[in-house]
Symmetry: C2
Subunit: 218 residues, 2 copies
């Protein structure tokens, strides 16, 4: 298990005991998450964009249209910050002040590059597809030349990262525990409902298992 | 219904037909979301941080410890970008290329200020608490002087905003509709599970309705 060095950039300053710097914790959160939020600086303005992603080793893979200004910015090598947040529950304390959330989040910093070799690009698209819906790559029609040319895939080197995790019940001030007020946790989960077939689906095609029993918990 | 002016900053450039600029659509997404991702620039570095929020009119309210570097940065008046993303489903197309997500997101830009008058600060904390868990403010112990002093609350003026929304089934290339491949949507929802009482909860205190039937859809 490797550790990300603690620097001013990735150090968890608010509630330090919630900070984790080991790659195992960081990667587990990255692998469970579905979307990330990418921050970059354009004309001195901060810009944040939500997008799909996947992890490959020490890199994050993003993709999109070749004309995407976010991808063009990233492949130019500018610094980016990427965040993945998993919301696990509302922490309902007796006092307003101690209300909180249970969550697992990763904040990482890095720089990207365009993935150009066709083999590497296809492999990255497979990893992305499988991150989103494991088992799908095999079944779907693969990208053709025109689609590949219209798509940019970038790899962001994870230079620095930290995870922040809160779990468990509320922590109230000692004297508040006697209050006649309910306290506890409301667990929250991202859950998949019954798949909805495309109205144009050919008849007789069953729902694949990976769609019928979709679950991101790893 | 008012409109946010379309400028280079908030214009939805990728798939423009998914862009919405009316305040009704933007506010509805902001009011349903639970957490936001705040982007800012510190020492030329983009930084993104997840946090709770609430909307009050044309402003976004954030809060946290007085020592939070994010809040100190915001109250100094630096520009920020805030994103709220609601994930509604996976769009499973016949081709890898046309895989997508159903989602509703808001990207906004603005600048913040510290809320200092005690009355306004308490009102903002009430709005925040009610945004997270409607009905809770009434039941919880209100902040005391020490807690108020330890908490910063900022209001971010929404200068510019746009929403991006995708709904509906996959859109495949015409010739792919004949493929023997399942296609459709896997709906995703953030769902609340059964509340878990604090192990130190006094006996005989029932779960309040707002915790037992927690639902963010508006």
């Amino acid at each position: 298990m490797s550790e990300f060095p603690i620097t001013d950039r990735n150090q968890v300053k608010r509630v330090p005991k919630r900070g984790h710097y080991d790659s195992e914790t960081v990667y587990r959160i990255l692998d469970e998450g579905l979307i990330c939020h990418v921050g970059f600086v354009q004309d001195q303005q901060p810009v944040v964009i939500p997008t799909l992603y996947a992890r490959r080793g020490e890199r994050l893979i993003l993709h999109g249209a070749r004309t995407s200004r976010m991808l063009q910015h990233i492949q130019a090598g500018h610094p980016v910050s990427v965040v993945v947040t998993l919301v696990d529950g509302l922490v309902v304390a007796r006092s307003v002040f101690h209300h909180s959330m249970n969550y697992r989040s990763v904040v990482l910093f890095g720089r990207g590059r365009l993935i150009e070799p066709e083999g590497e690009k296809l492999e990255a698209l497979e990893i992305l597809t499988e991150h989103i819906l494991r088992g799908r790559w095999r079944d779907a029609r693969k990208p053709n030349r025109q689609e590949l040319d219209a798509t940019s895939v970038v790899a962001i080197n994870i230079e620095s990262a930290s995870a922040k995790v809160r779990t468990g019940p509320p922590v109230d001030d000692e004297e508040d525990y006697q209050l006649p007020t309910w306290a506890g946790v409301i667990p929250l989960r991202q859950q998949a409902l019954e798949p909805v077939a495309d109205p144009r689906l050919r008849s007789g095609i069953p729902v694949p298992g990976y769609a019928a029993r979709y679950d991101r918990t790893r």
